[in-house]
């Protein structure tokens, strides 16, 4: 906008805008058509409304008339602004809104179960379990690039750790959550140690075998695991010792509804489990997000890109792979423990190869390495089958079709990973020569 037009008054646009406003406002706010008996009657609005319409029209007229001088004034004000023009993007990607949006989303997810049906909450809890599994496998497959087809084995380790420990030793959910994670991580470590020298397809086959070994072991070790009959009556999680059943199962425990003096409803338990799952997912997200910004997370990705270059720079590939495998397995262990607690009954049937395939599909569908993508894909993969129950027989067929279409349409996944942009030190820009200096350094693409 040049300086000449900034001083001219805009008479024509001002009249046009005011006319349009009056026309619309009079018709929409000023008069009302109604029928009285059989006749059409026009009602006129009260006088104060007419005053409002008139003052609105005057305001619009004035603003339109003086728009150029006003905007010139604002731009002048901006130019005088002493704030530096160079803006460095923040580490979070230059979005101050992001944390706010995140907290709104989390609050919404927390409140949501109180307004919907029990079935929906139950389904959402299942979806959250898959989110957790997807995020865990994402570390192994998406970030470190190790194809793991036996991920369900670690899931089973977590679930059976809780089931067996509570059955034989009476341990409660909370301590078993930790133990289940540690046990799964331990199995990941033990398996990873000999196996991680293999690459690509060979690794996939060995991990596939591992998953099956765990399942078959659980199936046949009848004296301890109950074999195909599984383990039932696994206690539900408690909230600081408050149970969510009608009557306390253990002596000394008080049911939740009695403690708060409200009526018993089985819905509380479902909502509690949902919120617990949500918190676990949030914790998982936090940990993985931190890991990504830590040396270890960067090393995982570097290893996926080029392990020869990694070795040439002094990174120990075996240790890095092992850490990815172990940490990924730990998340499966957490998910497994929660799964056992939610179901109350587990059997080897729940840990077949198809589960591994589904979790892997979630990772691939969402976009390797992308957290948001994995969450989206996990929700799709668990919720869609519920809506398409009539097609249950064709489920695997549709599943395969979907994967093929995805590979053709978006081989990088629904939401491909976005690289985080890191900020260089501010004083660093001062050292550069002046021509580069005025550019925001870390802003590109």
């Amino acid at each position: 906008m040049n300086s000449q037009s900034s001083t001219t008054l805009r008479w024509f646009p001002a009249f046009m805008a005011t006319g349009a406003l009056l026309l619309l406002a009079v018709l929409m706010l000023g008069v009302q058509l109604s029928t009285e008996n059989t006749e059409l009657v026009v009602y006129f609005a009260a006088s104060e409304r007419w005053n409002l319409i008139l003052s609105g029209a005057v305001l619009v007229f004035l603003v339109q008339l003086f728009r150029n001088p006003i905007s010139a004034f604002w731009q002048g004000a901006k130019k005088c602004n002493p704030l530096p023009q160079v803006q460095l993007p923040s580490l979070a990607g230059n979005k101050p809104l992001k944390p706010l949006l995140m907290s709104f989303a989390v609050a919404g997810l927390m409140v949501w179960p109180f307004f919907v049906s029990r079935g929906a909450v139950d389904l959402a809890t299942l979806a959250l379990i898959y989110v957790m599994l997807g995020l865990g496998l994402n570390v192994v497959v998406g970030l470190a690039g190790l194809l793991d087809l036996g991920y369900v084995g670690f899931y089973a380790v977590g679930a059976y750790s809780y089931a067996l420990l509570s059955q034989y030793f009476g341990l409660d959910f909370w301590s078993c959550l930790l133990i289940g994670g540690v046990m799964a991580a331990f199995f990941g470590f033990i398996l990873g140690f000999p196996v991680l020298r293999l690459r690509g397809d060979y690794l996939a086959i060995v991990t596939l075998g591992f998953g099956e070994i765990i399942r078959i072991l659980l199936n046949n070790w009848t004296s301890i695991t109950g074999g195909p009959n599984g383990i039932s009556q696994i206690p539900k999680p408690t909230l600081f010792g408050l149970e969510f059943s009608r009557r306390a199962k253990e002596d000394g425990n008080v049911p939740f509804h009695e403690f708060f003096g409200i009526d018993y409803s089985s819905g509380y338990k479902v909502i509690f489990l949902y919120i617990l799952a949500l918190l676990l997912v949030l914790l998982t997200l936090y940990i993985i997000n931190r890991l990504l910004r830590m040396p270890i997370g960067r090393a995982w990705e570097a290893l996926r890109e080029d392990d020869i270059a990694c070795r040439s720079l002094g990174l120990n590939p075996t240790a890095i792979k092992l850490s990815a495998f172990t940490i990924g397995a730990a998340f499966a262990g957490f998910a497994g423990t929660f799964f056992a607690a939610r179901q109350g009954f587990i059997s080897p049937e729940s840990f077949t190869f198809i589960e591994s395939a589904i979790i892997l599909a979630i990772v691939v569908l969402g976009g390797m390495g992308s957290q948001m993508g994995v969450i989206l894909a996990a929700v799709i993969m668990t919720v869609l089958p519920e809506f398409a129950r009539e097609f249950q027989e064709y489920r695997m067929l549709m599943f395969g079709l979907m994967m093929v279409l995805m590979m053709m349409w978006r081989p990088e996944g629904l939401m491909p990973i976005k690289r985080s942009h890191l900020k260089l030190k501010e004083h660093q820009s001062d050292k550069d020569d002046v021509s580069v200096n005025r550019q925001p350094i870390a802003e590109s693409v």
């Binding site: 940990i287 931190r290 890991l291 910004r293 830590m294 040396p295 270890i296 960067r298 090393a299 990705e301 570097a302 890109e305 080029d306 020869i308 270059a309 990694c310 070795r311 040439s312 720079l313 002094g314 990174l315 120990n316 590939p317 690289r419 942009h421 890191l422 260089l424 030190k425 660093q428 050292k431 550069d432 580069v436 550019q439 350094i441 870390a442 802003e443 590109s444 693409v445």
Partner: protein, 255 residues
């Protein structure tokens, strides 16, 4: 020659029936720039791979600062301070330029799991130092404005320079460059020449170089080894090598 940094003697590498390297001997002194030249397929890169632990030499001894390294795995040799670039650039292509430089500093960083999860002060400090070092080298190779660009999207010459910077952030003693000028235009080669001299002068690094660009080699090398068909053919100052009849016959050609 001052103090000896790397010394390989009687180095041989056999692949089945093929003797790729035969009784090669090599010395690199502290602060020296040493080049290896020879026709394609002469075994130069194989020597590199033996020295950096990617191959285990069939016979031979390699001493780095007096320590025998021929049996160590590659990453351990790298940790001692021997880092290399590759004939075909091996960057982490999907990662940003800056991340490439951060990954390289992995072993200098605070890699504690809990320290990172809770962002302890020592963790922040070590990350900040890594960033500073990365920023310094980015500035040095003139890639500051591309810091957040994916490495795979850089121009070829920039990728070459980034690969050198990625080696340098590890604070090496010996930098091994495998055909760093391949695919560069004359102007970029000239810049590379300046960069390598600067690295030696200001960062105390010794350089072992494989290169076909004779202008570059003759200009910056202190000594040159010529290899032909896996065997050492000649060695000495650029002047001596240039006039060596065997070298002219096998590699340089008569002009």
């Amino acid at each position: 020659m001052s103090q000896c940094l790397l010394e390989a003697s009687d180095l041989s590498m056999r692949f089945g029936g093929l003797l790729a390297v035969d009784q090669m001997a090599l010395k690199v002194g502290k602060g020296e720039i040493v080049s290896m030249i020879g026709p394609n397929g002469a075994g130069k890169t194989t020597v590199f791979n033996c020295l950096t632990g990617f191959y285990k030499p069939t016979v031979g001894k390699i001493l780095f600062q007096g320590q025998a390294v021929e049996k160590l795995p590659g990453f351990k040799i790298a940790r001692l301070g021997v880092v290399r670039t590759f004939q075909n650039v091996r960057l982490f292509k999907a990662m940003t330029v800056l991340e490439n430089l951060l990954v390289a500093q992995h072993r200098h960083l605070n890699t504690g799991l809990l320290a990172g999860l809770f962002k302890t002060p020592s963790f922040r400090k070590s990350e900040a130092q890594a960033m500073e070092r990365a920023a310094y080298w980015l500035d040095k190779i003139g890639l500051t404005e591309f810091a957040n660009r994916e490495a795979g999207n850089l121009a070829y010459g920039q990728q070459r320079r980034l690969e050198i910077a990625r080696c340098m952030v590890t604070d090496p003693q010996l930098l091994m460059l495998d055909e760093p000028a391949a695919g560069l235009n004359p102007n970029e080669t000239w810049e590379l020449d300046k960069l390598i001299s600067d690295l030696r002068k200001n960062h105390g690094v010794s350089v072992l170089l494989i290169e076909h660009d004779m202008k570059l080699v003759m200009e910056i090398s202190d000594r040159i080894y010529v290899i032909n068909q896996g065997r050492p053919l000649a060695s000495g100052t650029p002047e001596a090598v240039r006039n060596h009849p065997g070298v002219i016959k096998a590699y340089l050609g008569e002009s």
